[in-house]
Amino acid sequence: MNNSNNALTEAVYYILLALLSPLHGYGIMQRTAELSGGRLLISAGTLYGALSNLMDKGWIEQLEVVADSRRKEYQITAAGREVLEQEFARLEELVNNGKRILKM
């Protein structure tokens, strides 16, 4: 599956970035808010939907549930990391072209 031509949404980009280290749902919301300087606030409903979609795509996986903890933790997969790197390259191209032409 080649997704190199498809831009990720901002929320998915930040969720994948956040999941470079394992986190549970609420941790992802806090981390993405922190990474974006409080700008990106992902709603619980959006996050829930995004996590199940990303799992279906195999970009993230659920970690083994610890016996006495009911909270599920998630982590990025190798495929997810590849998608993230492709998106990074795409964003870099956008920024570089902007810089060159706007002379900023």
Partner: protein, 196 residues
Amino acid sequence: MGTTKKVWNFFTIAQWEEEEQWLNDMARNGWHLVRINCLLRYVFEKGTPGEYIYKLDLPDNLEHGMDEQAYCSFLAECGIDVVCKQKQWLYLRKKATDGPFAEKDDLFAKLQMTNKAYSYAIRTLSMLLRCFAVMIAIFGIALCVISHPYINDLFEGVIMGIGIGAIIAITLIWVPLINSLRKKMNSLIAEIGIKR
């Protein structure tokens, strides 16, 4: 248990933003929604003004095979209470000090919500149509089986009544509702084409 008050109010499937606004206005004045009775009587409990913020949610459990219990415990983990459930809508609240539910004017989230409300409206309409069809069929069969002039006239009247009722309900209520949701979706899609 503190002071409560009950307020009757009605919002259509297309008016969840108005309903949310109203619940948040009530909360700002210290009236926090605790449940909704049948007949759409909203029950509020007196509390600290502005302690909670409210949000309506319509989880599409059908499409994603979403397990409602798992979703509710996920919400609890995020500091969100499910206050009550009315039809398929969830009424959520959280402490205002924990920050807003999401960023305001998230076009994509608005589009998703409108789309969910739209499919919900269509599902409800098709269910309604099936109910009418079954009722008409039952009276129709009864009409063929029973041959008593008085009962036959009565059943014919009932069939006519159900049929006319269905046509009025669909043209006056459902068609405008579904149209307004469709228009809202189209304008959001047009806007998302420009900015996200």
